[in-house]
């Protein structure tokens, strides 16, 4: 690609080069011209020289002939032949040299003819001298013919020389001129080359500067790329990363080589492959629609990182330059946030479904009510929004009740309580209410949220229950007093019959009075037990730690004092202290121990074992006897009221003792159970929670 600057440089270069070439050609041409003109000058010089030589040779011949004529000495004519040859040679040379100049050629031809004539005259003179002697020769010689020719020759010679000298002057001028042209073009050439060189050096120097600058920039970019905390990549259009930075290596745990050697699809999470490849293929469109994309890359350790990519395509090469950011942490936080939001939404939904909700401003004016609130209050939403919560006040609670409520929530604390409200048509509903003040950052209450649960039905049931309980109490009272009064009559008057009319009664009558009294006594006991049992539920349990060992020892002493049975072998372990209501627990131990005594009475060697062990972080107490035991299939009945597994003539009892035990243990939060088999004894177990629990 050529920049404007480069274009100008190139144009300058072309112009300069053309100039230099032209200057070169001009130099060459002018130099040729100088040579040519020089050649002409030389030839002109030669023509002059040759002409002079011809004249010299001719004069030699003339002189030789004169000498011979005068002296007759043949010595003079001896070199004549050589001179003649010389003359002709020079003549021939002259012909050759002036072949291109017709004027000169004509003159030289004339000169040649005259010279030949003159030369032949000298030859004829010499011949005369030789044959007719000096006088005749002298005569001939004395004619002016010979001199005339010579005159003409010299004339011609002078003309030729003059012409040639003129030519020489002209040619020398031409030569000087062409030389000047040559010098000019030569300097031009030199200047052109120098300029070209200067420019070339300048360009090289400039390029070097630019190169250095670019290299520095490149280094910067490279360092920017490599040391970037974000993940930088260049992807080609074959599905490979071409270049990746160190951060990507660190993030994925692979080396650059490993990453670039594999198509990047292999690092993608399988769920992200489809979307990512789709985007990659239609990159140009996808990029415009959405410049960022998120996907997961597998690390060397097999885990995945979430990366958010921001990429730009290179429109020329088709490569993609992308910057990615590891957003795994953000994604995790996002996920937590999403889950939390979802949970919140679920809670809100569940709360809305389960509860009656009203949100009020700081003054108790309703801003939001849910459907349940509308339903229960029989107001529609429009009638409620903006109204004070007092709209449902039934006037049932006193001033102190509400001032305590406000006092609590104004302190920013949560108030909980039961409120009796009115519906729109003034019917009563009861709501268990939790009022939570919603505070802003400055701990100023902006809103209150009241979460209410309708318990009108329960409240009604409570009233009912209270009524029933009172009724039951008076019933119990009746039972304990009124039911017993006729019984006393039966007992008392039967006793009077026995004591005061004994003489009048026969044995059968006495047996009958005895039966009457037994039954009346049994009924008295039954009433007592039943009362005790019914009282258990109402009696509050006041727990404390007490010594089980002491309690059990006391009870055994009491029981064995009254007991007339066989002597019992007691095996009593050291027991851990108990945490419970001592008077109730005393009843438990009394009932269990007296049962054990009673039901082992038929054994000749009654043994009763009392102990404890640890199970599921609780103490389990047990009491084991080797008495008559019971049938396991009826063991569910053991702890029920009036359920007996033995006939009353076998063992005394009303069938309430174990029911009382079960009730007390249950009230304590414990468990009771039994094991046994007929004639193999019975074991009763119970647990009560520890102090800590």
């Amino acid at each position: 690609m050529l920049t404007g600057f480069n274009k100008k440089i190139l144009l300058l270069f072309i112009i300069l080069t053309t100039g230099v070439i032209l200057a070169g050609i001009a130099t060459y041409k002018t130099q040729q011209n100088v040579k040519d003109t020089e050649a002409w000058v030389t030839r002109t010089d030669k023509v002059i020289t040759e002409t002079k030589e011809v004249i010299t040779s001719l004069k030699d011949i003339v002189l030789a002939a004169r000498g011979f004529v005068i002296t007759g000495n043949s010595l003079f004519i001896k070199p004549l032949h050589t001179t003649k040859t010389k003359l002709y040679t020079h003549l021939q040379n002259l012909n050759n040299l002036t072949a291109d100049n017709s004027t000169q050629t004509a003159k030289i031809d004339s000169l040649k003819k005259l010279i030949i004539i003159r030369s032949n005259f000298s030859d004829s003179v010499i011949q005369l001298r030789k044959e007719k002697g000096f006088a005749i020769a002298k005569k001939k010689f004395s004619t002016i013919n010979g001199e005339h020719y010579l005159e003409e020759i010299l004339q011609l010679h002078n003309e030729i020389i003059t012409t040639e000298n003129d030519l020489l002057t002209t040619r020398k001028l031409a030569n000087t001129k062409s030389y000047q042209y040559f010098i000019l073009s030569f300097y031009l050439l030199l200047a052109g080359i120098l300029l070209l060189l200067t420019i070339a050096v300048f360009i090289v120097w400039q390029n070097n500067l630019i190169r250095n600058k670019i290299e520095t920039q490149l280094m910067e970019y490279k360092s920017f790329f490599n040391n970037n905390n974000d993940l930088c990549i260049v992807a080609n259009n074959n599905g490979y990363f071409e270049t990746v930075n160190q951060q990507l290596e660190t993030t994925l745990g692979y080396t650059q080589k490993e990453i670039t050697a594999t198509p990047f699809i292999t690092f993608l999470h399988s769920d992200d492959v489809a979307a990512s490849m789709e985007r990659y293929k239609n990159y140009q469109v996808a990029h415009k629609n959405k410049p960022t994309t998120i996907n997961r890359y597998r690390k060397k350790d097999g885990s995945y990182v979430w990366i958010e990519w921001r990429s730009i395509p290179n429109t020329i090469t088709g490569k993609i330059y992308a910057i990615g950011r590891n957003i795994t942490e953000r994604k995790q936080i996002d996920e937590i946030l999403q889950n939390t939001l979802k949970d919140l939404a679920n809670y809100k939904y569940a709360l809305n479904e389960s509860s009656i909700i009203a949100i009020t401003d700081a003054n108790g004016n309703m801003q939001h009510v849910n459907d349940n609130f509308c339903t229960i209050s029989k107001f529609n939403r429009e009638e409620l929004i903006g109204q004070n919560m007092r709209i449902v006040n039934s006037g049932y609670h006193n001033k102190e009740f509400f001032s305590h409520l406000w006092h609590t929530i104004l302190k920013g604390e949560i108030w909980k309580g039961e409120i009796r409200d009115y519906t729109k048509d003034k019917s009563i509903f009861w709501v268990y209410t939790v009022i939570v003040p919603l505070q802003d950052d400055t701990h100023t209450t902006q809103q209150y949220i009241a979460i209410m649960t309708d318990f009108t039905a329960r409240k009604e049931a409570e009233f009912q229950l209270d009524y029933l309980n009172k009724e039951l109490q008076s019933f119990s009272y009746s039972v304990s007093h009124d039911l017993r009064a006729p019984l006393r009559g039966i007992m008392g008057f039967t006793s009077i019959l026995e004591e005061e009319y004994a003489a009048k009664l026969d044995d059968e009558a006495k047996r009958i009075t005895h039966v009457i009294k037994n039954n009346a006594t049994r009924m008295g006991i039954l009433i007592d037990d039943l009362l005790a049992f019914s009282r258990l539920g109402r009696q509050p349990v006041s727990k404390r730690i007490f010594s089980t060992n002491t309690l059990v020892k006391e009870i055994i002493e009491e029981q064995t004092r009254e007991n007339t049975h066989n002597s019992i072998e007691w095996q009593i372990q050291t027991l851990p202290p108990s945490f419970g209501d001592i008077s109730l627990m005393r009843q438990v131990w009394i009932n269990l121990i007296s049962n054990a005594i009673k039901y082992s009475g038929n054994n000749n060697h009654p043994t009763i074992e009392i102990g404890s062990f640890r199970q599921n972080n609780k103490w389990v107490f047990f009491i084991r006897d080797n008495g008559v035991g019971f049938d396991e299939k009826y063991k569910e009945k053991l702890f029920k009221v009036f359920q007996r597994l033995h006939a009353s003539n076998e063992f005394e009892g009303t069938g309430i003792g174990l029911a009382i035990v079960a009730k007390i243990i249950t009230n304590h939060g414990g468990e009771v159970w039994a094991e046994g088999a007929i004639n193999k004894g019975a074991t009763f177990y119970f647990t009560i929670p520890d102090n800590q629990n």
Binding site: H481, I496, D528, A532
Partner: protein
């Protein structure tokens, strides 16, 4: 037989049968010679406080012992006990509660109000003697010749 000024025992009992049985039992041991029987709390209050002599002056009839049934019409045993123990004139008279059952929760209430003991009906001499012993009224027995 019962002389107005010599009341040893006041029996407050609405049930005639119970009263008869109690009196019979006490009689056996000659403890009922100076016994007066009233049917409820109201009668008891009248008997104790509402007496005038020949001159029209109020005269207190102070029994040495009160046997008191709890459940009675009009003024019941607890209410009567409360009144007796609030009145300085009568608060020192020993009171033994007659109850149908030793499991009766009212017994506790009576003790709180100042009852001295209780006897489970029907009254047997043994349990009566035990109560008497508990409150230290030996002299009642000593005054009575068992013969």
């Amino acid at each position: 037989m019962i002389t107005e000024n010599l009341i040893d025992v006041l029996l407050v009992e609405d049930n005639n049968d119970d009263a008869e049985l109690t009196i019979r039992e006490l009689k056996k041991y000659h403890l009922a010679n100076n016994l007066h029987h009233v049917k409820d709390g109201e009668e008891a209050l009248k008997f104790i406080f509402d007496n005038k002599d020949a001159n029209g002056n109020y005269l207190l009839k102070m029994p040495k012992l009160i046997l008191l049934d709890i459940k009675m019409p009009k003024i019941n045993g607890i209410e009567l006990l409360e009144k007796l123990k609030q009145d300085d004139r009568t608060k020192l008279i020993p009171v033994v509660i007659l109850t149908s059952s030793k499991e009766d929760p009212d017994i506790k209430r009576c003790y709180e109000l100042g009852a001295n003991s209780y006897i489970v009906k029907p009254v047997h001499f043994s349990s009566f003697a035990e109560s008497i012993k508990n409150i230290g009224l030996y002299w009642i027995l000593l005054n009575q010749s068992p013969i």
